[in-house]
């Protein structure tokens, strides 16, 4: 028999080590479906590494892919710390992108150093409203935010389709449902010539640092952690639980909105309904993989972006499906969850009948 007992204190090494080990285990486990697909495993992994580290372009592409994931991962982190289940980062991302397009395609004519902050602010505000609304319903009427935020994603996408067929439609777009391009002064500057990597990454890294400070050093962050860990003790201690939820919601939604701004004003230049291949949902995986640590989010976003970009290259080079990327990401999440369990408990072998 094996008895399972909670560990007194999961050590620092475990909390850092578990995600790293899990990531490796997940990549190793991916060799099983790769073999089944008839690929040479070493060649497959070599192509994958090539797709990430093979050239400056490959590496910057990976970072470009990681940028929105850092934002959405941070959005999930803040909300989940308060045990506020924001599944709506995808919708908030599009709300942010829509706001960016609304103010950034000619409505305001200003130099870049004014216009870019305005666009960022508009996107953040729009995303914040997108999360504040379902959170208000939660605190006022007890509506389950998992359901409301998830379903709002679809509402936002359909709303976006309507806008792209109507007020936001580009008259020069040859009838395609896409917005006008962001004006030159509103575009986030590129970081390297002839590469797609843009200033959104810098903003994402800054945001990660700010979120870290916010959660660990500020009174608001303290309240968010307290409410997330034990809402009834937080209430007893005089913390306004509902207001704390609203605060976490506004910050979470704003950061998800910034993901949309960064994608539309940094990468695409104009808005379509396929701006995000599920960055909002992947952000949840990023946050969980990072153990809800804002600094960890940066690392896990880079890991997940690497898997996606690497798997793309691999599938092109050796002709296996790029869906393997989704498989590795899912496997690594499962590995982290199992690893977290192993880290938190100790397993003691006992003799039969000796319970």
């Amino acid at each position: 028999m094996i008895r399972i007992e909670p560990r007194e204190m999961p050590s620092k090494w475990w909390t850092i080590g578990i995600p790293i080990i899990s990531a490796f285990v997940a990549i190793l486990l991916a060799s099983i479906p790769l073999t089944l697909a008839g690929a040479n495993i070493f060649e497959a992994y070599r192509q994958m590494a090539n797709g990430i580290f093979g050239s400056t372009f490959a590496f910057t592409e990976m970072l470009t892919r990681a940028t929105p994931l850092i934002f959405t991962g941070l959005a999930a982190t803040i909300a989940f710390r308060a045990k506020l289940w924001n599944i709506g980062a995808e919708g908030q991302l599009y709300l942010g992108a829509m706001a960016a397009v609304a103010v950034g395609t000619g409505l305001i004519d200003a130099p870049a150093f004014i216009l870019i902050p305005i666009i960022l602010l508009a996107g953040a505000l729009s995303g914040a409203i997108g999360m504040a609304a379902p959170t208000y319903l939660k605190t006022r009427f007890g509506a389950d935010e998992v359901v409301t935020t998830l379903l709002l994603n679809f509402i936002v996408i359909i709303f976006l389709q309507m806008m792209l067929e109507g007020p936001l439609k580009d008259p020069m777009g040859m009838g395609w449902p896409q917005s006008e391009p962001i004006v030159d002064n509103g575009v986030l500057p590129q970081l390297l010539p002839r590469m797609r990597i843009h200033a959104g990454l810098i903003i994402a890294l800054l945001t990660a640092g700010l979120v870290h400070l916010f959660l660990s050093k500020s009174i608001w962050g303290f309240k968010i952690r307290a409410v997330g860990e034990n809402p009834s003790a937080a209430l007893h201690a005089g913390i306004n639980v509902k207001r704390t939820f609203m605060g976490a919601a506004v910050v979470s939604g704003a950061i998800a909105g910034l993901a949309g701004v960064s994608e539309v004003a940094g990468l695409r230049g104009y808005l379509t309904t396929d701006l995000s291949p599920g960055f909002g949902y992947t952000g949840i995986v990023v946050a969980m993989l990072a153990g809800l640590s804002p600094i960890g989010v940066v690392i896990s976003a880079i890991f997940i972006a690497s898997i996606f970009v690497g798997a793309d290259t691999m599938s092109r080079a050796i002709g296996v499906s790029s869906y393997l990327a989704d498989l590795v990401v899912a496997l690594s999440l499962i590995c982290v969850l199992i690893g977290g369990f192993i880290a938190r408990y100790k397993f003691i072998r006992t003799n039969k009948g000796n319970v």
């Binding site: 007194e8 204190m9 050093k217 500020s218 009174i219 307290a226 034990n230 009834s232 937080a234 005089g238």
Partner: protein
């Protein structure tokens, strides 16, 4: 006729005119209150209670009146010490100087996934030494924690360790430290020694008596008769929704009252 009685009543409240109050009350008057489950019967006790209320309550104001012949219903609002008397959120209790020792210390008392130092300041998040323009003052939080674990003998792996690692007795000491350091005027202590070992229970009793000596009012709710008899100045027994003062404070008499025997 009826209106004049109402006017006289208002005069009593407004002018604190206690002789008129005595004239207004019938000999077999009953006093019901949402905070005293068992109605008080008789003129003397009712006069006593009403005098106290009229004396203590400030800004006594009638909000609504219903008049039906000889029957009146009056709705009032009032303040005590400048605060509305109706409902106190935990936050208001803190600002009024009401210290609270919760019944379920694991569920309501501490946040076990946060550190000892953090739990020690959780009720003081708006004090200047903790909160500097919205940011935690880690230096003084640490200093505060080190002082308090020394002063209240909170034993555990350290001030940065998760509170979950503390024993029940030490968690209770942590809560005591939090409550008593704020020098409360009123302390609500709900089952403060339940599940504690003798040493920790004695510590709780000592701190409560110390606060009483300092002049704090303490409402102790407990099922431990020895503790009640040892600590209390007045003892009330709750049975079946009614609250009765125990005149005879022997163990047997109180035990019988708890079982529903009328005093």
């Amino acid at each position: 006729m009826s209106d004049s009685r109402l006017e006289r009543w208002h005069a009593v409240v407004l002018n604190k005119d206690m002789t008129t109050l005595s004239e207004l009350l019938a000999d077999d008057v009953e006093f019901h209150s949402p905070t005293v489950w068992k109605p008080k019967i008789g003129k003397d006790v009712t006069q006593y209670i009403l005098q106290m209320i009229i004396d203590i309550f400030e800004d006594f104001e009638y909000q609504r009146e219903w008049i039906d012949g000889n029957n009146f219903a009056l709705e009032f609002s009032a303040k005590v010490d400048g605060k509305n008397i109706k409902y106190f959120s935990p936050k208001e209790m803190q600002s009024l100087g009401v210290g609270r020792i919760p019944e379920d210390r694991h569920h309501d008392g501490v946040i076990s996934a946060m550190s000892v130092a953090e739990n020690l300041i959780i009720e003081r998040l708006h004090d200047k030494d903790v909160n500097n323009k919205g940011f935690l003052q880690n230096k003084s939080i640490k200093k505060n924690a080190e002082e308090l674990i020394e002063k209240y003998d909170i034993r555990g792996p350290g001030i940065d360790a998760n509170t979950a690692l503390l024993s029940g007795g030490n968690i209770q000491k942590l809560i005591l430290a939090r409550v008593f350091e704020c020098m409360p005027n009123v302390i609500l202590a709900n089952q403060p020694t339940r599940g504690l070992d003798l040493g920790a229970a004695n510590e709780v009793a000592r701190r409560l008596l110390e606060a009483r000596t300092r002049g704090a009012g303490i409402l102790l709710i407990s099922e431990d008769l020895d503790e009640i008899l040892e600590l209390s100045d007045r003892i009330m027994v709750i049975h079946d929704g009614s609250l009765t003062e125990a005149i005879d404070v022997s163990r047997e008499a109180i035990g019988l009252m708890m079982a529903g025997e009328k005093a």
